[in-house]
């Protein structure tokens, strides 16, 4: 098998005095969607933030695309080819949808053909192009947050709970978009909505208490209800 695109080995992260990640091991091959599951507080968001350099790992190594990125400043990690869609979406509310996208295209001016493709994935963005992002609905903000991550081709997308608090109809539309996205890029998706995760994921990793406690193919987890119950308990379906 080819070298992994992303590889975390024994990653520890402290936030203040709290020891949150306690030795995370995770490997993502190139292509496809890996879903990161786990109950509330398991450390999923902290894992993404640590990859992104928003928390500095206190131990362990993070390799991406053949180089060590652990401890690098966040902008350097972004420029290595990783895009991040945080749990909070973090769209710039005072800026219009267009201005949000202009900033997301950091290497060159926005590309027309790519923009058309993004508009096909998320038609609402075209409609609200000149509207301040702050007035969009939750689902529209989520679409903008994802669109911002793909304004230019990136090697890896880190996406944190895109379905949280989003209307079911928009979640359906999102599944279609992710299906298309995973053809051009690799995605690490944190998700608590198991149905959504199961319909998209190629691989799955489950976290608990700051560690990865299970890794495997999504299909295997979907087929094995006993494993689901053991790893995920009942918390997942109640979350959506």
């Amino acid at each position: 098998m080819a070298e992994d695109l992303l590889r975390l080995e024994g990653v520890h992260t402290h936030i203040g005095q709290y020891h949150i990640l306690q030795g995370v091991d995770l490997a993502l091959p190139r292509g496809g969607i890996t879903v990161l599951l786990g109950r509330n507080g398991a450390g999923k968001t902290t894992t993404l933030r640590t990859i992104m350099g928003l928390w500095k790992p206190s131990a362990g190594t993070i390799g991406f695309d053949g180089r060590a990125i652990g401890g690098l400043p966040t902008p350097d990690i972004a420029r290595a080819g990783i895009a991040y869609v945080p749990e909070t979406m973090a769209v710039f509310a005072d800026l219009t949808v267009r201005e949000n996208m202009v900033l997301a295209a950091r290497d060159a001016p926005l590309d027309g053909a790519r923009l058309d493709w993004i508009f096909r994935l998320f038609p609402a963005l075209k409609k609200f192009w000149q509207v301040p992002a702050g007035v969009l609905s939750g689902g529209q903000k989520q679409m903008l947050a994802i669109a911002r991550a793909i304004a230019e081709p990136r090697t890896l997308l880190l996406i944190d709970e895109p379905t949280k608090g989003i209307a079911p109809a928009i979640i359906e539309a999102m599944i279609g978009a992710f299906d298309e996205l995973k053809r051009e890029t690799t995605i690490l998706l944190v998700e608590q909505n198991f149905r959504f995760a199961a319909s998209l994921g190629d691989r799955v990793a489950v976290m608990d208490d700051g560690r990865v406690v299970h890794r495997g193919a999504m299909a295997d987890l979907v087929a094995d209800e006993a494993l689901q119950a053991r790893l995920l308990g009942l918390s997942l379906d109640t979350h959506q």
Binding site: P75, L95, A104, R106, G112, K127, A173
Partner: protein, 349 residues
Amino acid sequence: MSAPASPSASPPPAGRAVIVETLPRVKTDFLPVLLPLGLALAALPLVGNASTWVTLTVAALAMGMMIYLVASGLTLVFGLMDVLNFGHGAFIAIGAYIALTVLGPLSGWVQADSLGLNLSALGLAALAAMIGTGLLGWAFERLIIMPVYGQHLKQILITMGGLIVAEQMIHVIWGGDQKAMALPTALRGAFVFGDIALEKFRLLAVAVGLVVFAVMMLVLNRSKIGLLIRAGVENAEMVEALGYRIRRLFVGVFIVGSGLAGLGGVMWALYRETLTAAIGGDLMVLVFIVIIVGGLGSVGGCFLGSVLVALLANYTAFLVPKVALASNILLMVAILMWRPQGLYPVAKR
């Protein structure tokens, strides 16, 4: 942008729900703009005399522009990196002293009866002041601010310390005595219309302030750097996650902000026609009120707040001089009770 098919014209993909989306209403918030207008109108009957009212109002607008020049950099510095810089006032005095130094050898131009030569002298002095304070701002950021990112108490202490050191340095370089800052010939006096007198320098100050405000709004709204600054004020972390170095942006804003404070200092010294190392003090109290009233990080709010605070300061100084400063503190309290984040709150994460 050429877009052949509108999204509503393309059929929704099979199996997906059609989502009906209405255009959200964008509310433009003009209410705060009415405040200075209302205040000016309310003051007219109290002042009683139209020509006095005009004089007071123009003086206030001129003062408001100087406050704005100083405050705009400070509000962005806070908005971008949560840095509380109590040393900002130092750039007011230093800018004024640099201008004084440059105007010395140019006294021929200053005293010449020619608007062109007068303005050239002032322009050169202002430019030197801005470059000087901008460079000092850069050094100030490296030496004093950078070591205390994210630590508010230390920021307050060390930037106040920086202010004291700067004032002492002024004493050492320029001496501790009060200096006279003469207005160039063509800017002395007033244009008189009937019984209304408009002082020339005040009109110049208003013009300079308006130009700086317009340029700043243009940069913030139309350039990518400006968009990054606005985005960074909202959520610096996300700007970094998009691959931009927020610190570089911050240093740039700090330098420009220091330069503008220097320009404000030149104008302020010319306005008062005298100069001491403590010249920034009076202005800084109003500057801090303004950035709080306007909404920390908001340039538009800062502009409006400057006008409002200066109007109130001038009207009360005329009507009830004893409460001039207290009136502005009351104004701040009242506005914060109405809008706890200031007139134009910045959407902070």
